[in-house]
């Protein structure tokens, strides 16, 4: 005998119980998801707030105001205001006079310590000013100069007054000068111009990202010029023309694998091939661009192929049915429709390349290069490598500068990613 069937009331009751269970499970599932998102957001907030709070002070530094008498004889011994003449001149002396006058320093030791308050970059700045405007010679100007990084650290509170003088990087006398100048309002906390106009420097107060930013731009230009056309051409060929056989399968698998290869491996490859075999110089943005292009290619190829695959077959059929040749189908219809996806992939690949450090260390872009590169074959460095180097330096001021450089790098990355989003939205078409 079979069991009697349950009554509708019984069934309804059981359904109700199971429904409650199901709802509870759903709520649990949602809760876990929300917790995961909250954790991720929490870490992001911590990360961003640390970088911003550390980085914003890096955009500022302390400047000292000096009344400088621009003595023509001392600065311009030949009297023609030419570059040579200015380099023969003695801006140091001029500055020393201004500093002694301002601080009232006397004695050999006192004068020496007083002069140390001003950044050693002040002389270059003075020379550059006169080169810009020779009419200033012979006048007295009120000029702001960066203070030495130790003074800056003191003013930011990293060097403590309480520390015994022997353990301090500033003497009591120097602190006395600083206090006095500050009381007169002659030391100010200003937006740092060195950060944007300076390059790598051992003097923290003179260090800036200009050289690295220019190096990054040069390197990425090479990367884009190589990786985009090669990547798109590869994707189009593999997706549209290549026969599906063992060989293309192997190529496909290898491209996917390359996308997962640690970037430092590309650096070793670049070192062996471009520098070892082809004999390029080290530290060149050109070679950096080659290496990053190799690294970016798989990303571009994979996203381009996805974009090509996403073009509906009906569009190809329509064009083929009209008697368009395969190349016409691709150039007239498929590529325009796939282009937003390809560009998005390319920009994301470029953003990856912009943030890459390891492969560039391998090809010597970590070298200490003070001059801003002016061409693709001028030794240079890039922003992330600059950050890497600064993070290594001992001076307290580099902490702020490092975080500021990270903020600049992040800004570039955000702009590039935003560009990708805008491009995708703008060129996205319906079909």
């Amino acid at each position: 005998m079979t069991k009697a069937m349950m009554t509708p009331q019984e069934a309804a009751q059981r359904v109700q119980q199971s429904v409650n269970k199901r709802y509870a499970a759903e709520r649990r599932f949602q809760l876990i998801g929300k917790l995961a998102i909250a954790t991720a957001l929490g870490f992001l907030v911590i990360l961003m707030s640390t970088i911003v709070s550390k980085g914003v002070p890096g955009f500022f530094q302390h400047y000292i105001q000096l009344d400088v008498t621009l003595d023509a004889e001392l600065l311009d011994p030949r009297g023609d205001a030419s570059v040579d003449s200015l380099f023969d001149g003695n801006p140091r002396k001029v500055l020393q006079q201004a500093v002694y006058a301002e601080t009232g320093a006397s004695g050999r030791k006192g004068k020496k310590e007083a002069f140390k308050l001003v950044s050693s970059g002040a002389q270059d700045r003075l020379r550059a000013m006169i080169l810009d405007n020779p009419n200033l010679l012979g006048t007295t100007q009120r000029i702001w100069f960066a203070v030495d990084d130790d003074v800056d650290s003191f003013l930011r509170g990293y060097i403590k007054r309480e520390t015994p003088e022997s353990d301090r990087r500033l003497s009591d006398r120097q602190i006395g000068f600083i206090d006095e100048l500050q009381a007169q309002g002659k030391i100010e906390y200003q937006l740092s111009d060195y950060l944007f106009s300076g390059s790598a420097s051992r003097n923290a107060e003179m260090a800036g990202v200009k050289g690295a930013v220019v190096g990054s731009i040069l390197t990425l230009t090479i990367t884009l010029l190589l990786a985009f056309p090669i990547g798109v051409a590869t994707a189009v060929y593999l997706e549209e023309f290549a026969p599906k056989n063992r060989l293309t399968e192997i190529i496909e698998v290898n491209i996917n694998n390359l996308a997962a290869v640690p970037s430092v491996v590309f650096g070793i490859l670049g070192l062996a091939v471009f520098i070892g075999f082809f004999g390029f110089q080290r530290s060149l943005p050109l070679v950096g661009g080659f290496v990053l292009a190799l690294m970016t290619l798989p990303t571009i190829i994979i996203s381009s192929r996805a974009a090509l695959k996403a073009v509906p077959p009906s569009i190809r059929d329509a064009a083929l049915g009209m008697g368009a040749s395969r190349v016409q189908v691709i150039t007239h219809h498929v590529l325009p429709l796939a282009m937003p996806g390809m560009l998005t992939g390319t920009i994301i690949g470029m953003a990856q390349a912009l943030g890459e450090t390891a492969p560039l260390l391998m090809i010597g872009m970590v070298a200490f290069i003070v001059d801003t590169p002016t061409s693709f074959v001028d030794p240079g460095t890039v922003l992330p490598v600059q950050i890497f180097m600064w993070a290594d330096f001992a001076e307290r001021m580099y902490v702020a500068k490092t975080s500021a450089a990270i903020l600049i790098l992040l800004t570039f990355l955000i702009v590039m990613n935003a560009l990708a989003v805008v491009l995708r939205k703008k060129f996205e078409r319906r079909w």
Binding site: A318, L320, G321, G323, A324, Q328
Partner: protein
């Protein structure tokens, strides 16, 4: 002798039916296209077996049959659209005006200009209405001047019964039209290159009844100028628009005849079962 077993029946042994030769007269007096012993293989699958049929000038031929019977496959052989499928192999002979279109010397680009195609799902290019119609003439270099091209576009849209509806918005995207309008745009695009034959692969299956009626009317009008081959799932549609009907079953052409005869007195039992709705 092949035995074909219809999978839709409960007792296959009863429905095993001989399809040896196509019933009815496959030949016509003035053929535009002729297919002889066409075989199509998709890899190991024998999709089309031994199909022989003539398509007469200015005639509307309907291909009917249950899903998967090979009618669309055969249609796509007529302008070599199957070339794009790697595993597809076509044997036999298909002639257009007496010339084998699968001959190695035949270029597929001009062939497709002569044998146009309209697809199941309306597939206008994501370009303007004007550019959609002008695409064919442009790539084939049919027009020397802009004025001439304008003329072709207007004529094609007029013939497709779309001119009055779109003449004020030719620069707007073709994808913004309604489904029926899009399909008529696709027909306009196909006739803009003045083809000899137009292949239509279930052109109304994605459309509502009113749009379908318009397309059917259009097919009727176009038949005075073009040869039309239409694949359809709707037997009423086949009956309304076509002069001759061909019934396909499991990759074979079972019966060909004047449409009226196919629908009133089919000769083959499979045809009869299909049109009376016993399977399909």
């Amino acid at each position: 002798m092949d035995l074909v077993v219809d999978p839709t029946t409960e007792k296959p042994e009863e429905r095993a039916v001989q399809i040896e030769e196509t019933v009815g007269n496959v030949h016509v007096d003035n053929p535009r296209m002729r297919a002889e012993n066409v075989q199509v293989h998709y890899g190991d699958k024998h999709a089309i077996q031994n199909v022989t049929i003539d398509i007469g000038a200015n005639e509307v031929v309907a291909f009917i049959g249950p899903s998967g019977c090979g009618k669309s496959t055969f249609l796509r052989c007529l302008n070599r659209m199957n070339d794009t499928i790697d595993i597809c192999r076509v044997d036999g002979r298909i002639e257009l005006d007496g010339k084998d279109i699968y001959d190695p010397s035949v270029d597929v680009v001009p062939l497709r200009a002569r044998v146009g195609m309209v697809f199941q799902k309306p597939n206008p290019f994501p370009k303007s209405i004007y550019d959609n119609v002008a695409y064919g003439p442009r790539i084939h270099g049919l027009c020397d001047s802009k004025a001439e091209l304008d003329e072709v576009v207007e004529q094609s849209l007029t013939k497709a019964g779309l001119w009055e509806e779109v003449k004020d918005r030719l620069d707007q995207p073709g994808t913004g039209l309604s489904g029926g309008q899009q399909q008529r745009l696709c027909i306009a695009r196909a006739i803009a290159v003045s083809p000899e034959v137009i292949l239509m692969d279930e052109p109304c299956s994605a459309l509502d009844p009113i749009a379908t009626a318009k397309i059917e009317e259009l097919i009727h009008e176009l038949s005075s100028q073009f040869t039309i081959v239409i694949v359809t799932h709707s037997m009423q549609q086949a009956a309304r628009v076509s002069h001759r009907t061909a019934y396909f079953h499991l990759g074979r052409l079972v019966e060909v005849g004047p449409t009226k005869q196919i629908f009133t007195s089919p000769q083959h039992s499979l045809t009869q079962d299909y049109i009376t709705g016993r399977f399909g």
